[in-house]
């Protein structure tokens, strides 16, 4: 190992064997039946290489970003680095204490108080009791929990729980810090605080491995980056170059037709085309306040009827990927008794509630608890401004926030002095 390296990863591979239905645990009786079934012919278990021949090194004090699509192997790499799961081949050499922030709040117990949880969680994250004691005030202050520290955590709001959990983790001071997506949670102000904390860590000479979808924060924090695709390193180097490669990869995927897009699922159903319609006419863009249809053509690749199939379309803002509208057959209680070999799935949105702007659509189809087909960013939606409220004009320049439009009315009445005084009566105010 070279003297100035904190992490060396050599020919690292990880194979998962998919046994039984979904891998993972099973019933002993299932195992026995399986043995009987495969008697004579030795069945080869299905294999899946989550990582294949990964090589990279990280210098001491460096901050490296790991990016890649869902399922590219990021979390597997993380789990190997943090020793949660062993590799199948290859090796990792680490120099220094490793601290991993995989998911904050793991091990928080609702019945215990904030204080008790801080110590328990600290111990789980491999902090010494004395370390936690000496930083306790800091942790509570950073989390902004104040007087609630001796209240059971089950009485906390989810935001408070999260802040306390992250605060414990943020005060962990290992030489090598592995961070996974933790910044994507919490409110904006708290996220900034956390990013600041990570910058401090890297200024203090700690080695940081940052695994994220959030490209701007990767650019801000990291010197170098590695991009994973299908378990292999597909780009590595200066953070700017790797992000360009990643964006280019996303763009080229988006340029493909729906049939050839990158997707997840067992393939029992495969969506092949997406179009927009209004009153039977194909259109380019929906108009605020007017009905439009999203039409998805699909093929079925199974003999099953797929009763109980569930379809979901989510509309998100293009700029910051915020989900705005969730359209779901389970929510409307729509069930289809039989899915045909080929078909069109039509979702009609009444009185388009989106203000003019750029959006995109994610698609999911499930049956029997299994994902059949899922494509992110199926299509972009450019909504043209329209007259949602029928007042004779669009919403542009009126709404302060870009949010969905809701059918609503206003009214105003005069009330008597007696009624007004009764409102400010202290007896009415809840104690």
């Amino acid at each position: 190992m070279r003297g100035d390296n904190a992490i060396e990863v050599n020919d690292l591979s990880k194979r998962y064997e998919i046994t039984g239905d979904q891998g993972g645990y099973m019933l002993m009786t299932e195992r026995i039946t399986e043995r009987f079934k495969s008697m004579g012919r030795r069945q080869k278990p299905q294999e899946f290489w989550a990582l294949r021949d990964i090589n990279f090194e990280v210098k001491r004090g460096e901050t490296i970003g790991i990016i890649g699509h869902n399922g590219a192997g990021k979390s597997t790499l993380l789990k190997i680095l943090s020793r949660i799961t062993p590799p199948t081949k290859g090796e990792v050499r680490l120099h220094g204490r490793v601290g991993a922030l995989l998911e904050v709040g793991t091990g928080f117990h609702p019945e215990l108080t904030g204080r008790e949880n801080v110590f328990l969680n600290g111990a789980i994250l491999d902090m010494k009791r004395r370390e936690i004691q000496s930083r306790f005030e800091e942790i509570v202050e950073f989390a902004d929990i104040g007087p609630f520290i001796d209240t059971p955590v089950k009485r906390y709001s989810s935001g408070m729980q999260l802040r306390l959990a992250f605060s414990v983790a943020a005060h962990l001071q290992p030489e090598i810090l592995i961070v996974d997506e933790v910044l994507s949670v919490g409110d904006l102000a708290f996220q900034r605080k956390c990013l600041g904390r990570m910058e401090t860590a890297s200024r203090e000479g700690r080695t940081v491995v940052f695994i994220s979808h959030n490209l701007p924060s990767v650019v801000n924090l990291c010197d170098r980056a590695i991009m994973l695709s299908e378990g292999r390193v597909s780009a590595a180097g200066k953070v700017g170059d790797v992000i360009d490669a990643y964006v280019g990869d996303v763009t080229s995927d988006l340029e493909r037709g729906l049939r050839d897009r990158r997707r997840h699922g067992n393939g029992k159903i495969r969506f092949v085309d997406f179009r927009l319609e209004r009153e039977g006419q194909v259109i380019d863009s929906p108009i605020t306040g007017e009905d439009f249809d999203m039409v998805l053509s699909f093929e079925k690749h199974t003999q099953e009827a797929l009763r109980g199939s569930r379809f979901n379309l989510t509309i998100l803002t293009l700029s910051d990927q915020t989900p705005l509208v969730d359209l779901d057959t389970a929510a409307t209680g729509t069930t289809f008794t039989e899915i045909p070999e080929q078909g069109e799935l039509r979702c009609t949105v009444h009185r388009c509630p989106l203000p003019a702007g750029q959006y995109y659509v994610d698609l999911r189809a499930d049956a029997g608890g299994e994902r059949m087909d899922a494509v992110n960013h199926v299509s972009e939606l450019t909504v043209a401004g329209g007259d949602f409220h029928g007042r004779g004009g669009t919403q542009e320049g009126i709404m302060d926030y870009r949010t969905v439009l809701v059918d609503h009315t206003w009214s105003l009445d005069a009330i008597s002095t007696a009624a007004f005084d009764a409102l400010s009566d202290p007896a009415r105010t809840p104690g």
């Binding site: 645990y25 680095l81 050499r93 995989l102 117990h109």
Partner: protein
């Protein structure tokens, strides 16, 4: 830029190499020792959660064996008239058996479920997995210590004197801890992979209850079945734990040294086998759980 200070710190840590696991792995007891504070906090969590929301709090540890002793004394002592050697009143005999038995049965049940209950921790954080069943056992040892006071009080209340060999009680209880912990670790590791262990555990505990001298004396086993069975019976370490405790505490008939050695051997075998299997299985817990 790394400062001189952090560089100096980094040097203190030896290089850690992560490689594919071999077929068997070392015991790595040193690592467990390094995580003793984690074990301390996990044990504390056990006790806090168990007694936090119950009205009677820690007094359950006293109350529970008393209730059992009362019920068993009533049915087995008065109604069914179980024969016990010596002249100790049956309730005293029963409570001295029930208290160590309670520990064993609870430690097996709680320990076997310990990994699956903390599946979240296992799939997200690295720590020696043995810390989970260990902390369950430690939490119950506290209960056992409290319940032992009950045994002494009941004994004295019936006018029975405590034997001079009482200092040997902890040794027999330790054998019980080893047995329970061995069973618990083995079942816990199996439970990660096979969820039907959850169904199996209560059954196993029931069977163990009947083959252990909780409500009767093991020294009489073999009077009819023959010499072989009188020894084979002690392959269940709980036989020595319970008979031995009653001998040391109440001067009841003792199992012979050979029988106790059989029990010790069998408990040691169980514990070693359990830990070896656990160590072998644990590297893949996170993938399977």
């Amino acid at each position: 830029m790394p400062t001189a200070d952090t560089q100096a710190q980094a040097v203190e840590y030896p290089e850690l190499v992560i490689t594919p696991p071999g077929r068997w792995s070392a015991l790595r007891l040193g690592e467990l020792w390094a995580h003793r504070e984690l074990i301390y906090f996990l044990t504390k969590r056990e006790l806090q959660i168990r007694y936090k929301q119950s009205v009677f709090g820690i007094s359950w540890a006293i109350f529970q064996p008393l209730v059992f002793a009362f019920v068993f004394a009533l049915f087995f002592g008065l109604v069914l008239k179980v024969n016990i050697p010596g002249d100790v009143p049956y309730p005293v005999f029963a409570v001295a058996g029930i208290v160590p038995w309670q520990f064993t049965s609870q430690a097996i049940t709680a320990g076997a479920a310990s990994l699956v209950l903390d599946a979240d921790l296992i799939s997200k954080v690295y720590f020696p997995r043995l810390a989970l069943p260990i902390s369950k056992a430690l939490g119950l040892i506290i209960d056992l210590a409290i319940a032992l006071v009950v045994v002494v009080v009941v004994t004295l209340a019936y006018g029975v004197s405590i034997a001079s060999t009482v200092y040997l009680v902890p040794a027999f209880l330790l054998l019980g801890v080893v047995t329970a912990f061995g069973m618990a670790t083995l079942l816990a590791a199996l439970n990660v992979k096979y969820r039907d262990v959850e169904v199996l555990v209560p059954m196993l505990v029931q069977i163990l209850f009947f083959v252990s001298p909780v409500l009767y004396s093991g020294t009489t086993v073999g009077e009819q079945a023959g010499k072989f069975w009188s020894y084979a019976y002690y392959a269940n370490p709980m036989a020595s734990v319970l008979d031995g405790t009653r001998w040391a505490l109440l001067d009841q008939p003792a199992p012979s040294a050979a029988k106790v050695l059989i029990s010790i051997g069998s408990a040691a075998l169980l514990l070693t086998g359990a830990i070896l299997y656990f160590r072998r299985a644990e590297r893949f817990f996170a993938d399977v759980i």
